[in-house]
Each structure stands twice: as structure tokens, then as C-alpha cells.
Amino acid sequence: MTTTNTIGTMPPPPAADAQPLPRGTLLAAVLAVAGFQLRRLFTLPRLAIAALGVLFPAAVLMAVRKTLSGSMDGTVVVILYALIPEALCMLGLLVTMCPAVADELERGTWAHIAVRPHGRRALLLGTFLAAVAWTAAVAILALCLALAVSGMAHPWRRFPLFAALVGLSCLGRAALFALPAVIVPKRALVASVGVAIVVEYLAGFLPAVVNQLTVSLRLRSLLVQGMGWGRQMPAGMQLLIDTNPVWVQCGAVVLLAGVLLVASVLILDRRQFPPSEEG
């Protein structure tokens, strides 16, 4: 604490006819927020949780290898799919995407971000970018480790398929969790778990039109196509996949993510938080 008046003077603000004040671009603001959020993720507790996430699928596969005998490539692929693009990505995004707005409200930084020219949109999109980058990086590391210990024949041939599934899972689910993050920021985690269970798992496994709007259907269908399992599956199981080409599956996830993000941005643009909801 200072005991004398040590605060100085500043150059005056620009004159009215001077160059306009910086407005920035949305892209620059998004990148600034993404960098800021990634810095926040580089803490020891977060890194420890990420390390657990990296190790867990490999540990499960090693345990499975000890239990089962004979060729088990199919089983390993199913376990890899359930653990990495589904469980690990889902958990990573729940932790990183859901608190996008709630964290800022609790820390008292919401007002300081929202008063910037593109602050609200940049907060959401920058957090989305950071969440996708962080979760995908953890999932890819987990994938590499799991493939290395999987005991499959030619494990690295599966890498492109699973890396694509990780990328699409992160993209789609991060956008899906953006909606609860802006609609019910203080209950976003609970709401997102609800969305994940009801939309992704319950609706995603209903052989009806509604599951066309889920990420899980697209990922499952890509896995089945990528592994060439389509014709071997029982008729009942074939109802749970979509036989459209790969580009349709990928395009559907990208389109779904785009629609969800635009909706989230528009909602956040209009959100008003009374002072009592902050800090």
C-alpha cells in the first residue's frame, strides 16, 4: 500500500478528430480469450487430472489384455471407442466448457470481459476453442498411449480413425455444452450432464429421426464404417447406425456444432446478469 501520492499522469485521450479507438476483430478477441483460458488450464491440479485421463484408457486396456486371451482386436476397438471419444472427451468438455460463463461471474471478471467490443462472443468462442484444443490434446495423448499398450495387430492403423472421432466428438460436444453454459450458467454442469445422458445416450440410441441430431449416432456410424463392420452386424444393431457416407457424418457434426454455437452466441449476446448474480 502506498503512503504517498505516487500515481502519475497519462497522455490525454485521443482528440475527437483523431483516429478512431481500437475496435479489434472478433477473431483477435477469440484468440485472446482462448490463450487466456489455456493459461488458466495449465495449473498443477488440472494437469494432474489430465494425466489421469491420459493414463486411464491404457490402464483399462492392460487389465483387459490380462483377462482375455486370443485375438481381441474388436473388443479393444470397442473399449477404445467407449473410453476415449465418448467418456474422456465428454468428461474433459464438461470440465472445460460448462463453466465458460459461470467462472467469470464467480470471479467477478464477467463485467470486464463483457464491456469489451466483442467480449461476450469472444468469451464463448474463445472458451470453446480452448476447451476443444485442451480436451482433444488430452484425448490424443490417451489414444497414443492406449494404442501402444493395446496388443492389437498394427495398432497405429487405427490412429487416423480414432483421431477423427476425437476431433468430431470434441467439436460437437463442446458446442452442445455451450448451450447450458449460457442458458443456466450457474447450473451448467448439472444441465450438461442431463443433456449428455438424455440427448446423447438415450435419444442417440433410439432408432428414430431424433437421433439424427446427436453426435453419438455420427461417431458410432463412422466407427462402424471405418472398421468395416457394417455387413457383419445383426439387423437390430444396424438400426443404431447411419449408413450415409463419411462426408455426411462429418458434415452433420460440423453443421450441428455451428448451429449450436450460433444459438449460444445469440443467447449470450442478450443475457443480462444483475449485480447480485456476480462475485
Binding site: M1, T6, P11, P13, P274
Partner: protein, 244 residues
């Protein structure tokens, strides 16, 4: 520079009742002028400042910053305004330098001028010695100065501060208010709310007293206090006159 015309802001409470937080407030702050916004808790000060900062949308009426309407051109208004909230909201893990750089980038300050700008702010706000120390280890006064620096990083001509001295001790308050006086003398328009009337009594050019969401009185210290009175007496007279 800052204009508020017949501003109304209503909230709907949890039980469905309409709360008239601001109910027809009008005032203006010119360039090179420092205006104190006074009122009891719940008078509508923070809501008024938040409407100006584009954090809340008015129910009706107009608010402008440097000619930019906060509803029709919120991005323009944000470019012209620096905002300091009652809570410092300074991230504990980042250093003052990192905070100013992050918010400068977020605001769109050009990369080639950002380092100079941040260095200048650290200097004038007397933060050089702690510029690379995590904000969690700074004193309240230093954190508040970081918050002020964050509001000034884009060199705005208008500044809105919500109880900026509430977390400061007497020395910190004096330093901050002296700094704000310097900003005023550079031609910036400054609007600040506070409960500490004695601190700003001789600093502000004019005062706006709000009570129950309405302007109870506004004018210079002499106009509000009368020849022998203090600003505090003028404040009580205005508020109790409204109550009566």
C-alpha cells in the same frame, strides 16, 4: 460525452414483481468533467452505470457514450468507455502485466503498441515493482490499480467507476482519486459512484443524487450543500426531501 436521458430499467423479481431499479434518470457528463453519482444502497447507481457499460439493456430511455447509443451501437459505446466495477475481478494467477496485455488484446489494441501501452500504464499506476508478481499476492490497493489500468488500456475518453475506493484504505483512496483528477484534467469524462461523500466532496465538479431510482438532486457542491453546509448535509436533505 456521457448522456443519460430519461433512463428506465425494470427487473422482474423471483416472485414475478416488477422492480423499478432506475425510473427516469437523466444527467450528463462533459469532457474534462468528473461527476459523482451518490445514493444509498439500492438507489439505482450500479444499475445506471451497468446500463452505460452495456452490461444491462435499458427498459426505456437513452444512454450514450461519446455519441454512441448503448442499445443501437453497443460496440461503439464499449470502444469509448472504460469501466471499473465494485469488485476488482483481477485473476489471482496472472500478473498485472499479463492482465493488462490480455485485456488489451481482447479489446483490439494493436500488437505493436500494446507493450508500450502496458508499460506506460504500469508506470503511471505505480505498478512497476509488482508488474510480474501474481495478482493474488498484491494488496487491495494494487489490485484496484490493476483494475483501473485494465479499464484504461484502450485509452478511452470516458470512464465509469462503480465504488472504486470501497476496497481501499485512506491512502489508496487518496492516490486513486488524485489519479482520477489527473485523468479529468486530460479531458476525460469521469462518472463515479461512491458512498464516501467526504472523499469526493472536493474532487468532483458536480454530483447527481439518486434515490429510489430517481434523481433527487443534482448540481455542484455549493448548489447542493448551501453556503454553510457540507455535501453530506445536502445529500440527506435531498434524499429525505424525496422520502417526504
Amino acid at each position: 460525452m456521457i448522456e443519460v436521458i430519461d433512463l428506465v430499467k425494470h427487473y422482474t423479481s423471483a416472485d414475478g414483481q416488477i422492480v423499478r431499479a432506475v425510473d427516469g434518470v437523466s444527467f450528463a457528463v462533459g469532457p474534462g468533467e468528473m461527476v459523482g453519482l451518490l445514493g444509498a444502497n439500492g438507489a439505482g447507481k450500479t444499475t445506471t452505470l451497468r446500463v452505460l457499460a452495456t452490461l444491462l439493456r435499458p427498459t426505456s430511455g437513452t444512454a450514450r457514450v461519446a455519441g454512441c447509443d448503448v442499445v443501437l451501437d453497443p460496440v461503439g459505446a464499449r470502444c469509448q468507455l472504460g469501466y471499473v466495477s465494485a469488485t476488482t475481478g483481477v485473476p489471482d494467477r496472472l500478473t498485472p502485466r499479463e492482465i493488462l496485455q490480455s485485456f488489451g488484446r481482447l479489446h483490439g489494441v494493436a500488437a505493436e503498441t500494446l507493450d508500450d501501452r502496458v508499460g506506460e500504464l504500469l508506470g503511471v499506476l505505480d505498478l512497476v515493482s509488482c508488474a510480474d508478481r501474481p495478482a493474488g499476492r498484491l494488496s487491495s490497493g494494487q489490485r484496484q490499480r490493476v483494475s483501473v489500468g485494465r479499464a484504461l488500456v484502450h485509452n478511452p475518453p470516458a470512464l465509469v467507476l462503480d465504488e472504486p475506493t470501497s476496497v481501499l484504505d485512506v491512502f489508496g483512496s487518496r492516490d486513486l482519486l488524485a489519479f482520477l483528477s489527473n485523468l479529468r484534467s486530460e479531458g476525460r469524462a469521469i462518472l463515479l459512484s461512491t458512498h464516501r461523500l467526504h472523499e469526493i466532496e472536493n474532487r468532483c465538479d458536480r454530483f447527481v443524487i439518486i434515490h429510489g431510482g430517481r434523481v433527487a438532486a443534482q448540481g455542484t457542491r455549493a448548489q447542493l450543500a448551501g453556503p454553510a453546509g457540507s455535501l453530506e448535509q445536502g445529500f440527506f436533505a435531498a434524499v429525505e426531501g424525496t422520502r417526504a
